[in-house]
Symmetry: C2
Subunit: 218 residues, 2 copies
DNA sequence: CATTATATTTATATTTGCCTAAAATACGTA
DNA sequence: TACGTATTTTAGGCAAATATAAATATAATG
């Protein structure tokens, strides 16, 4: 059983690992956790002692099997609680992150399985992210295709978002876009790679930055 | 905003205060929290600094208005989560305490009000204890009459238990007694003050100790 | 490839919440 | 009321998780 802090580190390392762009390094973790690199360094030694990470000084960090499994359990808890908050307590998708961040650390052998059952074994959270099963398997999902990559003229349904910050989610809500929304990419502006899309009969201009964070599935 | 430890101390002090038999003293808190008296003493100074308790060295401790209000919010959260666990996740009443003990510390402005609504504004928790409202008011409850005080021949309905330890709750479940159970006190043995009662047509002998922890209302 | 810049680690310190041991205070009773 | 006992507080320390500052290793560049 790990401490709250240790759990948060595992989660962050998992996030960096699974978002294959970035490697898990001391400074990347420091950045994401908003703690000093020296503190991260301390914690990495502790997690290595507990065999949760592979750690060689000055090199990239990777999770061990045990560490990955532990991290996926936290992800599972986080996402199931998010579903609970949205489905049962009527929260909006941009409001649930901070609360789920706390709830994901509740320790109980049985709680999360009962919650999962109560929620009807949902496959994804309110942002479209898949929920790992009790054994830590993410049911293989189709490949994500971001708005920034979809060819002009293509239609589809929004399946998820890669940025779950409240400010981004509120923007999407404002323009009438959510998971399940139908869309058509009507144009891409070469100058700044922004896109134009049709949602509910309205034409919307969207920056490349935003378009890189909304996806449908192949 | 108080730390988890500080919240637990407030809760314990409130428990001692409201169970009017015992006064909140350093040693009583030490006993209940299973921490050394010296540690308690440290914490009391901290809580006094934060104006959560009235504290004069070597004297009994009482909560300030702020402290009482804070403590009641924790009690509210604890009891609402217990209702959730029993009503929605099908836990038994002897299983919920430890999980609620964790959930009661989740910090959110809105979560508990939404949970309360979701649960249909329950008046009591699964052990019959009243749930304070958002302002910290316990709706005035009728006076408790314990099995150890009920006169022989009287009938009634179990309204609550004063001991919520799993071992006690499992004993009650085993003898077929729960909140809402009809009973009749059929005899009281003068020798050891044990009682005899009829539940669902069966006659049960119950020790004075157990009888002191089950009650109906006046 | 030498030097500078950046990233990382080590050393040392702080805060929180706990501990043990010792000192101070309060209480029961002879 | 004075003594012994029990309670409470103070003093000094430890572990966890953070920080700052200094040392060291790696990477980037002219």
């Amino acid at each position: 059983m790990l401490s709250l802090s240790e759990e948060n580190y595992l989660k962050i390392i998992h996030k960096l690992e699974s978002e294959r762009q970035v490697k898990a390094t001391t400074s990347a973790i420091s950045e994401l956790t908003q703690t000093k690199a020296s503190s991260v360094s301390d914690m990495l030694r502790k997690l290595a002692d507990k065999e949760m990470i592979h750690y060689v000084k000055y090199q990239d960090i990777t999770l061990t099997e045990a560490g990955k499994s532990y991290a996926l359990q936290i992800v599972r808890k986080h996402r199931l609680w998010e579903v609970f908050l949205v489905e049962k307590l009527n929260y909006r998708w941009d409001e649930v992150h901070d609360i789920a961040e706390q709830l994901e650390h509740i320790q109980s052998e049985t709680l999360i399985e009962r919650l999962d059952k109560f929620l009807g074994h949902p496959a994804t959270d309110p942002h479209g992210d898949p929920i790992p099963d009790a054994e830590g398997n993410m049911h293989p999902t189709r490949k994500r295709v971001f708005f920034s990559e979809i060819k002009v003229g293509a239609k589809g349904i929004v399946q998820g978002v890669a940025d779950t910050s409240p400010v981004f989610l509120r923007y999407l809500t404002k323009i009438g876009l959510g998971i399940g929304s139908e869309f058509e990419i009507t144009d891409r502006i070469e100058y700044d790679q922004s896109v134009e899309l049709a949602v509910r009969g309205r034409i919307i201009a969207m920056s490349r930055e935003a378009a890189q964070n909304i996806y449908t599935l192949e």
